[in-house]
Point group: C3
Chain length 351, copies 3
């Protein structure tokens, strides 16, 4: 999808978008892309609302892509008005994406790939990766350097495993997944039985399934199930440093921000959003469409479509009221004392 | 410990357990093991209580192992009643554990092991691991791929270091430890001196000792001491993404859940349990047998045997009362206002 | 900086410090260094205040370095009184620092360094590291084992990248940086557009700049910008397991403790201190000189020089008052009920 980005003009950008109204010089050159506050001459940038545009006292970008609104023509800037700004964003950024992978690497002779592994067409394996026996690497999949893929694991078609990813034996990653550097899939669940004051390890014999289109962030961990399977559902996106415990079942198209922690045996529905550093206690059940605030702590059952936050998590509107009351607490202590005094006086003071 | 699991029957399972009462067909075949809600025909599963059994409307498992209770015989399920369900769980799961390590790898010629390292019998070192001079790898220890063991570090007998583990120079790991993928032992403590608005690094010259039988989760970090030694005590189990700061002393047989953070110079007694995402401030002292709720924040001194939770952590029962009151806070604000009005009226209203 | 530490005496230590008053035997031998509570005969230790010294019932160290104060001469201990104890600490610990890197490794033939990479003088690359084309490794920089440096990345002079560090393509690390094991620089920002209930990835075309003198802890992550650059400012120190989101701008000489999380597009001023597990919501703006308590949750704008804590973060003194009130909440509920009863009685009780 990456094309040459030399000698681009505003008109070329409009061509690439296949839509958009140009206001200003259509031949103004575009040499890069940057956020509004970092953009300099030659850069294309994006603005998402009229307020946003107003807040930028002087945009130094040469070309600004923005949703339909009134703009004053300028001799320094060319505007491109589009109907779907987010689609435009994705389409244009794709132009500027530098390819990370060199397909010519093929299966590097500096990697170890077991002769008992199945390697489909156009697979790339970078130096110093280790692919054990019984592994299947699907068509076009890329294994960057220092990746471990354990016995019998399956990596579907068109996946990218960034450097240092560890896939324990038997784990299944379906097609089109992106696993960022240092992520660990299939480490043992945290399960012990107490026996005479010591902890005896419960063998963790289950596995992990990462369904298609999932993205997992750098240094995140997904534990294997004790028995059965830990599942990350189709299209779900997981940020960096997230912990997913054993036997967790995550639905489809969820998004979990950085440092979220999901304890063992939790069930999460579809399209659930979790803010950063949120945590879910073991065996909790989170419905579909639930939105969870950053740093929240959840336990028990959360109904479909709820919006919750806090530790423990409360319905969003109620949480806001509790928070507002909390700020008045020191004042309430005083008012309470004053009232007590007043009532005491009334009782004994000869009213 | 792993034996062939083909052609097993309920009777074989009873033999392996060396105890247990069979109710139902003793020759019913067992082909796998699964949690109750994922089990299908041929699977053996575990149920831990009568309530649990009732809650499973229709178990599809073929064989159910459960503690002593009354069960109605069934034509579809064979029950095995046992005295110690947790012991049975460990014994049976061990049968189904797939070996992760191929002992035939020996010390791979694709690994780098310094000629000045000591490698005892039956050690396995996978390709692309780096073992520096002065290192000692104890008998039967397994070093998976992409592991770094720095100068003069000692790994005891029968340890497993999963892929990507980093052991900084001089660190000591005693026998029988399991270190999961990406864990880092011995990185520098976070210590600086402020000097003219800048931070000057305090050299971190101490070390780390991980005592025998410890398990450390994926991508967890244990910092070396500034001087002296950071200690993780015998039998302690640490989950994924946990941070242990410099000079921390952790006692024996503790269990810390995912994303726990222990700041520098903290002392933790024996058999301490910490819930996920709990944090302990520097120089705190946690007694033995303490239980700490998930997401709690601790500082100062916590007495032996305490059960605490919250930020800052409070005794468990008091915390529950504060929490309950908190939910009534918006209503309290209203009641307080109403009272103030009533008192005002009484004062001036001619009672 | 590391010198022989055999046959050192208290007098040698004073020589090395170039200052200090010796009280006790100047020829007492020093064979190691340890914190006060771990020190044994032969060890040198540090004490930072008179209270601290008193609290140590019996120091077993042979030599104690401490700030100017009155000390009673002892036949067992030699005291060295200094004006600047922290400077003395750094100077002496440097003596005992074991070198981690063996400069003789040079560029190991067991590493892969692209012929199209630029490798300056005295660079060390350990076995099994991968340095892609277009990379520049500055003079004297050390790349430990299992490091990935992607296409076109730049590592300045005198840096140390510990084992397993991953530097994505195009990332810039300036001179004198220390990046600990497993840290990931330049992974994709967590950015998606929702489209028909699914998440479509926004291409992450920006980069990361780590300015000079920065230290980043083990398994921490710094995401690349969507467009433009994520910046970690000069001299800033980041502890382990910290998450820095896309497009974040961090100022100079900050210090962030373990497991801090900074969401996308946050701006942080200079000399900001964050306690462990603190979190900052996206697009927040933190002024210079701000101090943030452990486990705090921040959003919006925080003024220069503020001291804040809590979720959401409040000014420090107000937070303490809210916390104090919170502990009285269960009692307040009772007092409120009692008052209501009293007022009710007064109203109807025939006063």
């Amino acid at each position: 999808m990456s094309i040459g980005v030399e000698n681009l003009t505003a008109l070329d950008i409009r061509e690439i978008l296949r839509t958009g109204e140009i206001i200003g010089d259509p031949y103004r050159p575009v040499t890069g892309v940057a956020p509004p506050d970092e953009a300099k001459e030659g850069d294309l940038t994006f603005v998402f609302s009229a307020e946003w545009l107003r807040s930028l006292s002087n945009v130094r970008a040469s070309v600004v892509v923005l949703p339909q609104m009134e703009v004053s023509p300028s001799t320094d800037v060319t505007y491109i008005l589009v109907d779907r700004i987010e689609e435009a964003l994705i389409r244009i950024l794709s132009l500027f994406l530098r390819p990370v992978v060199d397909r010519n690497v093929g299966v590097s002779p500096l990697a170890f790939v077991s002769p008992k592994a199945t390697v489909e067409d156009r697979v790339v394996v970078y130096p110093f990766s280790f692919v054990d026996e019984g592994v299947c690497l699907g068509e076009g999949t890329v294994i960057m350097s220092h990746v471990f893929v354990g016995k019998g694991a399956t990596i579907g078609r068109g996946c990218t495993l960034y450097p240092g990813v560890v896939v324990y034996p038997g784990v299944v990653v379906e097609e089109g997944c992106i696993i960022h550097a240092g992520a660990v899939l299939g480490s043992d669940g945290f399960g012990y039985v107490e026996h005479q004051g010591k902890r005896v390890k419960i063998p963790q014999v289950g596995s992990v399934k990462v369904e298609r289109g999932v993205e997992i962030g750098a240094n995140s961990c997904v534990d294997r199930a004790t028995m059965g399977t830990t599942v990350v559902g189709e299209g779900t996106k997981i940020d960096n440093l997230v912990q997913i415990g054993h036997n967790v079942k995550i639905g489809k198209h969820c998004a979990f921000a950085g440092q979220v922690g999901i304890s063992g045996s939790v069930k999460v529905g579809d399209r659930v959003l979790m803010g950063g550093q949120a945590g879910v206690a073991d065996h909790a059940s989170i419905g579909s469409g639930v939105m969870i605030g950053a740093k929240s702590g959840l336990a028990g059952k959360v109904e479909d479509g709820s919006v919750v936050m806090g530790i423990p998590a409360l319905p969003h509107m109620f949480f806001k009221r509790v928070q507002a009351s909390l700020l008045r607490l020191p004042e309430m202590v005083k008012r309470l004392r004053r009232l007590e005094k007043a009532v005491e006086e009334m009782r004994h003071g000869g009213y």
